[in-house]
Symmetry: C2
Subunit: 389 residues, 2 copies
């Protein structure tokens, strides 16, 4: 279903010959048929942000987007002025097809950095996608397939609010780190909302989801999250409920990215409690999530708490005040680190489930935060040593 679950949206996913993988669907189009064309966007903070990010950031600034075109098979990043003109030309072509100003068309690209796109294929693909537009489940599914790169499966979400719907799709598997991840995400809704609520909902939603996952510590040049509202349900959304649902949609999609992390054999949830502030909890969680040594240990089914506390120990005291002799660590419910030292025997921990829960109590306050990461496997190295060739 993905983006077509909400009323007022049509979508398509076609094989445009952009990807090196012959016959792969590599171009998606999502059109907001209104009556509203409200939108909000969140983008990578990478200073080498890609041409489509530069374009789309400007396009969404006024809170209105009519259509989004997304391609896999090339990131159009670090491509300078020529790359920017490609994004612009792509937006113009879509604008003509859907009868809207180019400034109301967002462009997203994902794939290799440093190469221009085969623009003729993109433009021909845009036409083909426009001709294939439909509002049914298959069209939404096609779009979610077309944005995949090293993803092994499409990632979508559907949620029902009070009289309105939210749908979404995301791609992302590697180069995933806060803030955001190498991910393209489109969330649609038929709720009646204004641009301010769209913006606030998306900002809050991404903060506690996409900004709290880390596959490999690598921030992308192309990250884009868009929220589009058609108003087609005719139902004015309650702001609190709407925000909660957008956060839930973001959390679901972020969780699916972790579940499809490159080469991962375990999804790791790191919950830090007892912190003096949410920032402190988050800093501790991120430090643990970034540990290659821990991530390797987990891939070997070793609940190596030494690698957890040595990561905690790198967080400066002014960022996260705690007493190292009071810290406890539970892995999958077994307290293997007590008072900063050895607790129950690590052999008691059942490491067979895909999902691993690391619960860290700093015993210093009441704040908490949760981050997600993946383990580090032979397969991750294989994928990323050979992705180019």
């Amino acid at each position: 279903m993905s983006v077509t679950f909400a009323q007022g949206f049509s979508a398509a996913g076609v094989a445009a010959g952009i990807s090196a993988v012959e016959g792969k669907k590599d171009l998606a189009l999502v059109v907001n048929n209104g009556p509203l064309d409200v939108a909000a966007g969140v983008f990578t903070s990478n200073r080498f942000c890609a041409a489509p990010v530069q374009w789309s950031r400007k396009a969404v600034a006024d809170g209105h987007i009519k259509a989004v075109i997304l391609n896999s098979g090339g990131a159009n990043a670090c491509t300078g002025e020529a790359g920017y003109r490609q994004s612009e030309a792509t937006a113009q072509a879509v604008a003509e097809l859907v009868g809207a100003p180019a400034e109301n068309v967002a462009v997203c690209s994902t794939g290799l950095i440093g190469e221009l796109l085969p623009l003729d294929h993109v433009l021909a693909g845009a036409k083909a996608a426009h001709a294939a537009l439909a509002a049914d489940a298959q069209a939404g599914a096609d779009a979610s397939h077309a944005i995949m790169t090293t993803d092994t499966k499409p990632k979508t979400v559907t949620l029902e609010g009070s009289g309105y719907r939210i749908g979404g799709m995301v791609k992302g598997s590697g180069m995933i780190a806060p803030q955001l991840a190498t991910m393209l995400c489109v969330i649609t809704t038929d709720a009646v909302i204004d641009a301010d609520l769209a913006k606030a909902s998306l900002a809050d939603g991404t903060e506690t989801s996409f900004n709290r996952i880390d596959v490999d510590g690598c921030m992308s040049t192309n990250d884009t999250v868009l929220l589009l509202a058609s108003g087609a349900s005719g139902v004015k959304a309650d702001p609190a409920e709407f925000k909660a649902l957008v956060a839930k949609a973001c959390a679901s999609l972020a969780r699916q990215i972790i579940g499809d992390g490159e080469g991962a054999s375990h999804d790791i949830r790191i919950a830090v409690t007892g912190a003096t502030s949410e920032e402190a909890a988050l800093a501790c969680g991120r430090a643990v999530a970034a540990s290659n040594l821990l991530k390797c240990a987990i891939s070997g089914n070793d609940p190596n708490w030494g690698r957890i506390v040595s990561s905690l120990g790198t967080v400066p005291e002014d960022v996260a005040p705690y007493d190292s002799s009071k810290v406890t660590v539970d892995v999958n419910g077994v307290r293997i680190c007590e008072n900063g030292g050895a607790g129950r025997d690590r052999s008691e921990v059942d490491m067979t489930p895909r999902e691993v829960h690391i619960d860290i109590d700093l015993n210093a306050g009441d704040a908490e935060a949760t981050v997600w990461t993946d383990d580090l496997t032979h397969e991750y190295v294989h994928i990323n040593a050979d992705y180019e060739s």
Copy 2:
């Protein structure tokens, strides 16, 4: 030769049954026979610092150390009060053997975190090591072997100053990240120096060597670098020359750690020039060195400059001001990224040498810095997924 190259030092390395590897030399003793007993130390900043670090930091604070005992096979980290008493008891035993106060004996441990040492083995080993003490090359070599863990080879250095000598040994292979690394290092000299010069030389020397290498981004609980001066040459060292030689010794040992990084197939030198400050250059170098994606690409012999610039792009502008459209990147002498975009074809880069040179010019100023890292291989994952079991 290692630590016995300088006059006035005797050493030994024995198999004390601390390591799980039967018959492995796992305990080293280095004794300063004087006439001086000047010393300086630099330690991990990890807040979960190990018991031997807590002990040795106090011991060296007055600038005097008579002997150092080092063991592999167990880190004695996160072992609380009981662990601290083990380090203390070990120092007391050595103190009796060498006829010095316990407060003049440093203790270093490396190995698994979270377990107490087999103290009886350590104490028996100390006696055996004391009985085996010698000032010859073999004794120095034995000591450098006894501190190895996942190291595949001993790492030593010998340098000649104007009438005096410097020798050293280090262990370190994984859990290597700034600041410092999982490393134990002892540098000896027979120069006549005072504690202030020892301290200043070691601080400067570690800053540009051990603090600029990063195997896996993981900071250890046990890092210790000690400099011991016997004064046995009778030659008062010129401070400038001495500092330069200590820096050279540190740089040599740090380079050897990178050369023996866990599972590494390439040693990667990242030189950042054209920065507005050394801090800016360093921040950029560290960001690139920390990229798992780049490290995987290098292991696959792919000079993937997209992963280099996307890492540069994560450094905040206030830390390192530069214009992304002016950045150039050379890999092994080929400018594959020009003005922030594609330069010469990456196929021109010869990736067969073990040493890979990444030269980044920010074109924003005159400052520079160099950091070293390793590539990320299947073997690294293998070593660290299975280290425990």
